[in-house]
Subunit: 277 residues, 2 copies
């Protein structure tokens, strides 16, 4: 095992080595402008360092860097900067409660076919522009062992800081790709891979997701809370499925609906054995 880089202590807020982390509130609303992904907190940074993403730098207070020590040893090429909590918040531009951040290069986008081509279990999102719901969906997709997330062009960026955080860092290990316009025609990638698309909708014409056929491959199609799926997306789906719920209640949060659907389609199929732990 290589020796990790020594940790560099910085006490000048204008130090140019802090550039990746400067004024995050302003800079990272459009991360595509900079191509830099930010991870926050020990667990998320740890997951970044164990992922295929190329980490650039880590910035944190001593206690949090100590908590990351085992992972840092395995990532010898990453610059590690130690600062006190005041300097950290000063540089970042808001109070950093999690005590450590990492920056990483944004990887090149991959094609939907490369994600979906081999079949498996997927979620497809239409118009999901809420960063936190998007992050939660990645977390839930990881929890149920999905093979990838597909997004239409109107979805938010899963690599935006808040999505990364809410995903608990699972965006770094869960394959994802953007389905280009024209949407929903671009969902044809699923038909080509023989993966049926199950649109989640409360409509009465939809059968219960708990009564769907047992299949090795499927894609759950979800729309944003409120508007739900467009007519075009519903028409392009292989079938419609609903979560059996009480009448008169708003639908579930979209990420929660995803979790229930993933569970329903996995029951007694994929996860036969208890988890360890």
């Amino acid at each position: 095992m290589s020796t990790p880089r020594p940790i560099v202590t910085i006490d000048d807020p204008d130090d140019p080595r802090l550039a990746d982390f400067r004024a995050l509130i302003d800079a990272d609303v459009r991360p595509d402008r900079r191509g830099i992904v930010i991870a926050e907190g020990v667990n998320v940074v740890d997951r970044l360092l164990r992922s295929p993403y190329r980490a650039r730098a880590i910035l944190g207070v001593p206690g949090k860097l100590a908590a990351l020590a085992p992972t840092l040893t395995a990532a010898p090429d990453v610059a590690v900067y130690e600062v006190d909590k005041w300097l950290l918040s000063d540089v970042v531009g808001f109070r950093v409660t999690r005590g450590v951040l990492a920056s990483a290069d944004r990887p090149a986008p991959v094609s939907p076919a490369s994600v979906v081509g081999g079949g498996g279990r997927f979620v497809v999102l239409e118009g999901l522009n809420d960063f936190e719901n998007l992050g939660s969906l990645f977390r839930n997709a990881a929890a149920f062992g999905l093979n990838g997330v597909l997004l239409d062009r109107r979805c938010a960026d899963p690599l935006y800081r808040r999505s990364v955080r809410v995903s608990m860092g699972h965006v770094f290990s869960m394959p994802f790709a953007v389905l280009d316009d024209p949407w929903p025609q671009s969902m044809s990638v699923f038909a080509e891979a023989d993966v049926p698309v199950l649109a989640m909708t409360p409509r009465a014409a939809a059968g219960s997701v708990f009564e769907a056929d047992v299949r090795a491959s499927w894609a759950v199609l979800l729309g944003a809370e409120g508007p739900g799926l467009s007519e075009q997306a519903l028409a392009a789906a292989s079938e419609w499925r609903r979560i059996p719920m009480s009448d008169g209640v708003d639908s579930l949060n979209v990420a929660t609906a995803g979790a229930v659907a993933f569970a329903a389609l996995s029951v007694g199929r994929v996860f036969g054995e208890p988890n360890a732990g």
Copy 2:
């Protein structure tokens, strides 16, 4: 149908009739000090007005009050104050994006036995001190038609403003009660009502929640994210159940785990028919 009170326009931020809504950030961290419950947004205020809660006053901008007009007609005793959006934010102490608030009296607490005594389907929460997770759990409990929520003394207040908002106002219609200390002995109310308590835990000794016996009555027991359930609570449960998930992934968000468990225990049992809509 009675005529609703006329809407009163207020343009003085110091008007004493605005007392319920003043400086909410400071005042409502401990709503038990004031006994006033705050609802935010058209949908949540609407749900409050249709609930058994006694509304005190409504404060909003003209457009949002107009959206509530049908419900206001049915609630003629409630004072309605119209302000512009600047005054609204000025009084409340933060920028009110939802444009309308309502205040209501906090109802007298009810006993656990009065909620649980007749049997049914429940969720029991241990140490859940996150307002948003708590609100989400109420929303999910309502979605799956549960009969009540039981809280240990360390749980957050479901009637705190942020819980109310995240619950989408379902706290107003979902019965809940606090299980006193000594906890978890106070869970004996379930045994007395012949309601088995299913503790959700990732432990290998737990069977899948999807393989639990079909029952008309059950209570799902959930702990806070991170610590999970205490040994004492686990020992007091009737049985242990897990959600089948991938290894190496943090457990689901507690409210999401609740939704999956409620769905699993309801499949093909309670909700045989599709929803309308």
